[in-house]
């Protein structure tokens, strides 16, 4: 996960179709590597599973938390790749634990979820990147603060982006939900008969996965809402136009696949049967006939039915609405602005404002570079503000150590600063060390053992 820093820089720099392929294929190589490793090595699978799970949860949450802060459409999508790798990782981690714990159901659900998500991610992510590419070609900018109201000009791109966004948020009836549901099922499966600490890891991953879902929702309502909805924030010359059908047709084809997996997940799950079997085979005494347990396929079929049912229900409600409102007068007027008659294009939410409350909560975790001239005086002359989210890990791992070293010696002077709270802090640090050191040492041995086994 700390090795991700190239990704958000590479994506905005690359042309859109390359980004699509990059996220679709390139970063999956890492996943493939992990999968191959699991197949090759013979080791303590449970420990390995926890390590994968831990890294995956962290990178998933971290990726999406940073993604929300981005104002560049492609950087935003790029951080989402990190998030999705996290989700895939949770699946694989679970599967690995399943192998270690001799639980075929857990292993199957974990690996199937993870692998299906690999496929899903490459579908909706490339669709998102293609849409972002269309937007870029129409507006020549990727800064979402400058866009707005594009749905009027580019209805197809907007719809495709919306559907892909729903899919990436893992919402039914799209494919993202199927794979996430498999992983959820795996997690709840994992809750059965365990001792507290592994249970805790499961709950933590559950928490992580839910949080990722909620954050993704926040992120994509922001991205879609600010880019495509509302009134235009800026006049583009020439005016944005819809992409040509040549571009749209492959995108619709991708959409068809996304919907297909969402509605008929059973088919795709059966296709995954063989690769998953390669993993479940590592469990001694596991049934070799079908890798996907019977009830897992039944579950997934349920999802498909529910998805179809929901589409039908929504259609029905909409149909009734159309019937009911068809005869009644529907007038068109401006958005309610409390009777103000002047220009209102600045009077709508910007991306920065939309996520500010979130940013305030997340600020301690990230280094956000804020430049502003605050409004001062009774009659202010001017004010200005700009924020730049910066990847804190990148900063800490690459930039900070050098600076830290310089100040290292000078640091000790601050210890004796006369603030009683700091003395209490030293006390806490000491207590914590006393408790943790034996613990850490123990675990170090465990880790060394584990590495030896490799």
């Amino acid at each position: 996960m700390p090795f991700h820093t190239w990704l958000p820089h590479a994506h905005p720099a690359a042309p859109s179709h390359v980004s699509g392929i990059m996220s679709g294929v390139l970063i999956k190589i890492g996943i493939y590597g992990i999968l191959r490793m699991i197949l090759l090595i013979k080791t303590d699978y449970v420990t390995a599973g926890y390590i994968i799970l831990f890294a995956a949860v962290i990178s998933g949450i971290y990726g999406v938390m940073l993604a929300i802060l981005q104002h560049n459409l492609k950087t935003l999508l790029a951080y989402h790749s990190i998030e999705n790798i996290g989700i895939i990782g949770i699946g694989i981690g679970l599967g690995t634990i399943g192998i270690g714990a001799h639980n075929p159901m857990l292993a199957a659900l974990g690996f199937a979820g993870g692998m299906l998500h690999v496929l899903n991610h490459s579908l909706f992510k490339s669709l998102l990147f293609f849409s972002a590419g269309n937007v870029y070609q129409a507006t020549h900018t990727l800064n979402i603060e400058k866009m707005g109201g594009l749905i009027k000009k580019m209805p197809h791109t907007a719809s495709l982006f919306l559907l892909a966004a729903l899919a990436i948020c893992g919402l039914p009836p799209f494919n993202g939900f199927v794979s996430e549901f498999l992983i959820y099922s795996g997690l709840y499966q994992g809750l059965g008969n365990q001792s507290p600490v592994p249970l805790f890891a499961i709950i933590a991953s559950l928490f992580g996965l839910v949080l990722i879902g909620g954050l993704a929702l926040l992120c994509f309502t922001k991205a879609f809402g600010i880019v495509f909805l509302g009134t235009p924030r800026r006049v583009f010359v020439p005016a944005p136009v819809e992409a040509s059908w040549g571009k749209l047709v492959p995108m619709y084809a991708t959409l068809a696949l996304i919907m297909g997996i969402g509605l008929f997940p059973g088919v795709f799950l059966q296709a995954l049967s063989a690769p998953v079997a390669a993993f479940t085979a590592k469990i001694p005494g596991a049934p070799q006939v079908s890798a996907i347990p019977e009830n897992a396929s039944r579950l997934v079929a349920n999802i498909g039915w529910c998805a179809a049912g929901f589409i039908a229900l929504a259609g029905l409600v909409f149909f009734i609405r159309q019937k009911a409102t068809g005869r009644k007068p529907a007038s068109v007027s401006g958005t309610w602005g409390c009777g103000y008659v002047g220009d209102a294009s600045r009077m709508q939410y910007s991306a920065g404002s939309f996520i500010r409350s979130y940013r305030k909560l997340a600020e301690p975790l990230f280094s956000i570079h804020k430049k502003k001239r605050p409004v001062e005086g009774i009659f202010p002359v001017d004010g200005w503000q700009e924020t730049h989210p910066y990847d804190a890990l990148e900063e800490w791992l690459i930039d900070r150590p050098l600076r830290k070293l310089k100040h290292f010696m000078g640091k000790f002077q601050f210890l004796q600063n006369g603030n009683p709270q700091f003395y209490v802090l030293y006390g806490i640090v000491f207590i914590t060390l006393v408790i943790l050191v034996p613990l850490v040492v123990d675990n170090m041995y465990a880790l060394l053992d584990f590495l030896n086994q490799l």
């Binding site: 400058k146 009777g339 103000y340 009077m347 920065g352 500010r356 009774i378 004010g383 200005w384 503000q385």
Partner: protein
């Protein structure tokens, strides 16, 4: 110092007001405002033989005097501004700019005050009002009004926000510019003028009509009897209690505290119903007349008033105790919408809004009229300047006013106060009348011509000063706290728009 020193409600000949060079006029008045105890109560211009005579009235709270000076300038001149030195003058100069086209070279905020259909630049309207903008794509603006969700008066509030945080608020009023001051000249009959004064602001009927009645009596050389003064003081204090109670209810509504909202709302009703018993109108319309009263106060009214207050007080105390100890309410009130002492002094706030920021500004104490010299009023001062202080101030002022009313009723003067015919207004004079309404100081100012006819009438509601305080108070607050901040000031739209 070259100025005329007058008392509250004093009529002086126009000729006795010193006319200064503009530069000296500027220097003198801006220096006067350097001290906290002085503030500008009125600064306006009127036409005098083709020139504009600027008249600046500065009140000295320590000595109970008003310092008047003036200057003659041409229309559409370019002048240096007072505001560049003392922001407290900004609204007055904007008004002068709007009325006479006088341009100010260094005024930092020279924007329209009202909708100027009768002003120098009639083409100004809300759609081209130059709102302050912050050049950042990450911020957004929120425009509230002129039509608000509650049935209240029109005004446009433009917020520059960063998410939930308000960075800047600009308030644009003037939707209700009815031409009140011109109507005072157009309507010749005293009754018409009295009714006009009563209609300046619907929630300050007693305040404005007392200010007008005192002014007119002074102009006509009439000295009101004790009974009349007694009734006016009583009406002012009753109005204060009633509106403050209503405001406490509204404050509770804005933090969604239903119990407080309902109970305080109920408590307000007997108060305004008492006016109904007294004068036939719940808002005290028709109660106060120059030269007399149609509704003299008597023993049975006093009895009913005491009865009503006896019923009011225990309920009010209990509800206040409940409200001001409820953590969820306190969390919303405390440290919300702070106006610092320095800000309050700089922009020259008056009345309640000044008293919560540690500024001792109360006409009842500094320029007492009617029965206030007897009451020896001691203003209640708070220092934090937040919503909590404004709510607490209301609570304490209500208690104080009830105490005053009880005290007054014990020493009720019994002289008949039937209307007497007033004399003719003094010719070529100036009269200035200051009254402490519930919201703060009300200033009425009249200038008469050669035959004693009104040539200029000027009204200033406390809201005129205090709207800017609201704009400063909400900076860096949450936008969802704006309604409660707004209500804590409870400023008048029409009193400002005139």
């Amino acid at each position: 110092m070259d100025n005329l020193i007058i008392k509250n409600h004093e009529t002086v000949p126009l000729a006795s007001i010193p006319v200064l060079e503009y530069d000296k006029f500027l220097a003198q008045n801006t220096v006067l405002l350097a001290e906290e105890r002085r503030h500008c109560v009125q600064y306006y211009g009127f036409l005098q033989s083709g020139m504009v005579q600027l008249l600046c009235c500065i009140a000295d709270d320590m000595h109970g005097t008003i310092l008047v000076s003036s200057a003659l300038v041409g229309k559409k001149q370019i002048l240096p501004s007072f505001t560049a030195h003392r922001p407290a003058f900004h609204k007055f100069e904007r008004e002068i700019h709007e009325n006479f086209g006088i341009a100010y070279a260094d005024h930092p905020w020279l924007k329209p005050v009202r909708y100027p259909f009768d002003r120098a630049r009639p083409q100004n309207d809300i759609a081209n009002y130059p709102f302050f903008q912050i050049g950042s794509e990450e911020l957004h603006e929120v425009g509230v009004g002129p039509i608000h969700a509650g049935v209240i008066e029109p005004g446009h509030f433009r917020f520059v926000c960063n998410g939930e945080q308000i960075l800047h608020l600009e308030i644009q009023l003037g939707f209700q510019h009815r031409g009140v001051e011109r109507l005072f000249l157009a309507k010749q009959h005293l009754l018409q003028r009295t009714v006009l004064a009563e209609s300046i602001a619907g929630d300050t009927v007693a305040g404005h009509s007392v200010a007008f009645a005192n002014l007119w009596e002074s102009l006509c050389g009439f000295r009101a009897g004790a009974g009349l003064q007694f009734a006016r003081t009583l009406a002012l204090e009753l109005e204060r209690i009633a509106v403050h109670t209503g405001d406490l209810s509204a404050l509770c509504t804005d933090v969604a505290y239903q119990l407080g909202s309902a109970v305080f709302g109920r408590l307000r009703t007997p108060l305004i119903n008492y006016f109904q018993i007294w004068c036939g109108n719940r808002f005290a319309k028709g109660l106060i007349r120059a030269g007399g009263s149609h509704f003299p106060f008597n023993e049975s009214l006093a009895e009913q008033l005491l009865e009503m207050l006896d019923a009011f007080e225990p309920d009010f105390d209990a509800m206040c105790e409940e409200t001001f100890t409820l953590p969820t309410v306190l969390a919303r009130f405390e440290k919300t919408g702070v106006v610092t002492h320095d800000q309050a002094v700089a922009i020259g706030t008056v009345g309640m809004a000044a008293r919560v920021s540690g500024l001792n500004r109360d006409i009842r104490a500094s320029h007492p009229h009617d029965f206030y010299p007897v009451l020896q009023h001691q203003p209640i001062i708070k220092h934090h300047g937040d919503v909590y202080s404004r709510a607490q101030l209301r609570r304490r002022e209500i208690k104080q006013s009830i105490g005053y009313i009880r005290h007054l009723l014990k020493h009720m003067p019994l002289d008949s106060a039937t209307p007497e015919p007033l004399g003719q207004p003094a010719p070529e004079s100036l009269t200035l009348s200051l009254t402490e309404g519930w919201r703060g100081e009300i200033c009425h100012c009249a200038v008469t011509g050669v035959r004693g006819e009104l040539v200029h009438y000027k009204v200033k509601d406390p809201s005129f000063h205090n709207w800017l305080a609201l704009a400063l108070a909400v900076r860096n607050n949450e936008i969802s706290d704006f309604p409660v901040c707004n209500k804590s000031f409870d400023l008048s739209y029409c009193g400002h728009d005139l």
